[in-house]
């Protein structure tokens, strides 16, 4: 297997062709970002563009005989992973709010009437909080919606 790999790698890859491949892949990704309207497909196209940049970095690493380009590919993959995680979280949040992933429909930052909207509530805000100590009846935690006041009510009860 190693001898086979050595014989395969005996001749060099045409490095300018590798750079041309990177350019073509980047253009395909750019076309995907600019011509599709679904934000998931746009994120996939961004991934294609990042991969084209990685291929160019590996090719230049080979040209200069310096592994720093491959180290940069490592960092670029880390940044891409973080970017995908945050981007997909934003897609989930927008989809939960607007029920769509079309970028043409979420272009407005102001609020359009898309029906009931659930905003995240912070812990300190008294939303449904009606006094756990004064809540004397047996099943008092039926009206509580959050986890924290229900626990406090049960502790006061027991």
């Amino acid at each position: 297997m190693s001898a086979l790999l050595d014989s395969v790698l005996a001749t060099a890859v045409p490095l300018d062709r590798a750079l041309l491949l990177a350019a073509v892949l980047f253009s395909i990704g750019l076309a995907g970002v600019t011509s599709r309207r679904n934000v998931l497909i746009m994120l996939l196209s961004v991934e294609i563009m990042l991969n084209a940049a990685n291929l160019a970095l590996v090719t230049f690493s080979k040209v200069h005989g310096d592994p720093t380009g491959q180290v940069f590919v490592f960092f670029a993959m880390t940044v891409a992973a973080a970017e995908v995680a945050v981007g997909l979280a934003i897609v989930i949040a927008v989809y939960r709010l607007r029920r769509t992933t079309d970028v043409g429909e979420v272009a407005a930052l102001h609020e359009i009437d898309y029906g009931p909207v659930r905003y995240p509530q912070l812990e300190g805000q008294p939303v449904h909080h009606h006094g756990s100590s004064g809540n004397g009846d047996g099943d008092g935690d039926a009206g509580e919606t959050g986890g924290q006041p229900a626990v406090a009510s049960e502790e006061a009860h027991g």
């Binding site: 014989s7 750079l19 076309a31 011509s35 294609i48 590996v58 040209v63 995680a85 997909l88």
Partner: protein, 174 residues
């Protein structure tokens, strides 16, 4: 032999990328993109970047694509919604932009190809690039000596990305 393999991988990568950005179904797009990641990993092997090739398959085809597939299946897209491309005018503008970029990039590469051919000849005669430099040991040596600060900052970046993803998708911040 290497050239033939390189052209095969390049053809597979370009074809699967074109198919991936033109599918109506987002799941099909993601799976075609997995094929493109594998073809690029084969290209990395031909360029003697073995560690990058393995990381490409593990991180991209393994982790990032699984995340994509989970989200695509979570948001429950209708195929007619996915079929919508951009408005025709903007779509033509986008394709024109990418074609212009491709022309400029190909022009630059073809005008500087003598440099690369000379460098490849140098490497063929014996060695600007060490044999072990693409392996995990070679990359690790560089990563933990010269680029150790960037490596540590990367952990902060991953932590902030993780926190951002969790906070953005939580319904209640309690």
């Amino acid at each position: 032999m290497t050239e033939v393999l390189f052209y095969c991988f390049a053809a597979v990568a370009i074809a699967s990328a074109v198919i991936a950005i033109s599918r109506k179904n987002a799941v099909a797009s993601a799976l075609w993109l997995v094929l493109m990641f594998f073809a690029l990993a084969g290209t990395y092997v031909l360029l003697e970047a073995w560690f990058v090739a393995v990381i490409q398959i593990l991180v991209y085809a393994g982790a990032i694509m699984v995340l994509f597939l989970f989200v695509i299946m979570l948001v429950d897209l209708k195929s007619e919604e996915l079929a919508v491309m951009g408005a025709p005018r903007f779509r033509a503008l986008g394709l024109l932009t990418s074609a212009l970029f491709l022309a400029v990039a190909v022009f630059v590469v073809l005008n500087t190809r003598e440099t690369f051919v000379a460098a490849a000849d140098t490497w063929d005669r014996g060695g600007a690039l060490e044999v072990e430099s693409g392996s995990a040991a070679g990359i690790g040596h560089y990563l933990f000596h010269r680029w150790v600060l960037a490596f540590e900052v990367t952990s902060v970046l991953l932590l902030s990305g993780m926190l951002g993803a969790v906070i953005l998708t939580k319904r209640r911040l309690t």
